[in-house]
Symmetry: C2
Subunit: 139 residues, 2 copies
C-alpha cells in the first residue's frame, strides 16, 4: 500500500520535472493561484510545511518569475503572495499535464471503481485529520 504510492508519486514527479516544478512547488503554485494574497504562514500551514522550509519554496517560484512577494497592505511583517501572468500560464499547463497523468494512471480502473477510490481516499484523510487535531484545513 505504501509502495503503491511511492510508485505513483515518483511517476507524477517525473511528469512535473519538465516544467521545472517539484511536487511541493507545484502544490504551492496552485494554492497561490487559487488564493491570491496568501501569506507565507498560511501557505506553510496549508502545505503542512514549516515556515522556515517554505522560504526556499517561495524563493524557487519567485526566482522563476511565477510569483511575487508583495507587501501586505495591513501588516508590514507579512507578504501577500501572488502569481504573475507567467505563473498562471505555467500553473495551467502543469495542472493539465498532471490531470493527463492521473487519467493515464486511473485508466486501469473502471469508472465506478475510480470514483469509489477517490472518495475513499478523501474519507480516510478527513477522518484521520479530525481525529488528530481539532483544526480543519481551510484551503
Amino acid at each position: 500500500m505504501k509502495r503503491s504510492f511511492n510508485v505513483v508519486q515518483a511517476d507524477l514527479a517525473r511528469t512535473l520535472e519538465p516544467f521545472g516544478l517539484r511536487m511541493i512547488t507545484f502544490t504551492a503554485l496552485i494554492l497561490i493561484v487559487d488564493n491570491p494574497d496568501l501569506s507565507q504562514t498560511q501557505l506553510a500551514s496549508a502545505l503542512t510545511v514549516e515556515r522556515s522550509n517554505l522560504v526556499t519554496i517561495v524563493d524557487d517560484l519567485e526566482g522563476k518569475g511565477w510569483i511575487v512577494r508583495n507587501p501586505a497592505p495591513n501588516d508590514r511583517r507579512s507578504h501577500a503572495l501572488r502569481a504573475t501572468r507567467e505563473g498562471h500560464r505555467m500553473c495551467e499547463r502543469a495542472v493539465k499535464a498532471a490531470r493527463e497523468h492521473e487519467e493515464r494512471l486511473l485508466a486501469a480502473l473502471g469508472k465506478a471503481e475510480r470514483e469509489t477510490f477517490i472518495a475513499a481516499l478523501q474519507t480516510i484523510e478527513r477522518a484521520k485529520r479530525e481525529e488528530q487535531d481539532g483544526t480543519d484545513g481551510k484551503l
Copy 2:
C-alpha cells in the same frame, strides 16, 4: 491525494513507534520472518532500498536481537538473514497493531468500498510497475 497518504503514513509510523520499529524496519522484519535465509541483496531489492542503506536497517534489527546474520552455507560472501524467536514474537505483535490500525482507518469506509479501494491501489501499482520496467517483484 498525496496528502491523504502522508497523513495515513505518519499515523502508521506513530503506531509502530512504541515497538521500536520504523516503517522500513517493520517491513524488513516481516519479509525476513516470511522468507528465512534471505540475503541482504534480495531484501534490499524487495524493499527497493540501496544495498548500502540496508546495512543500517539490518544493523538496527540485529542490534535489538530480533534477527541474526548467519553465514550462508553455499556462498561465504553473503548472509542468510533469520528472525530470532524474539523477532518472531515482535513481528506478530507489530503486525497485529498495524492491522488494528488499518481497521480503525478503514472503519470510515463501507465493506464494498473498502475492497474496491484496496483492489484499486494494487491495480494502479501493477500497471505502473509493468509500464516502467520489465522486472516484476518476486516477493
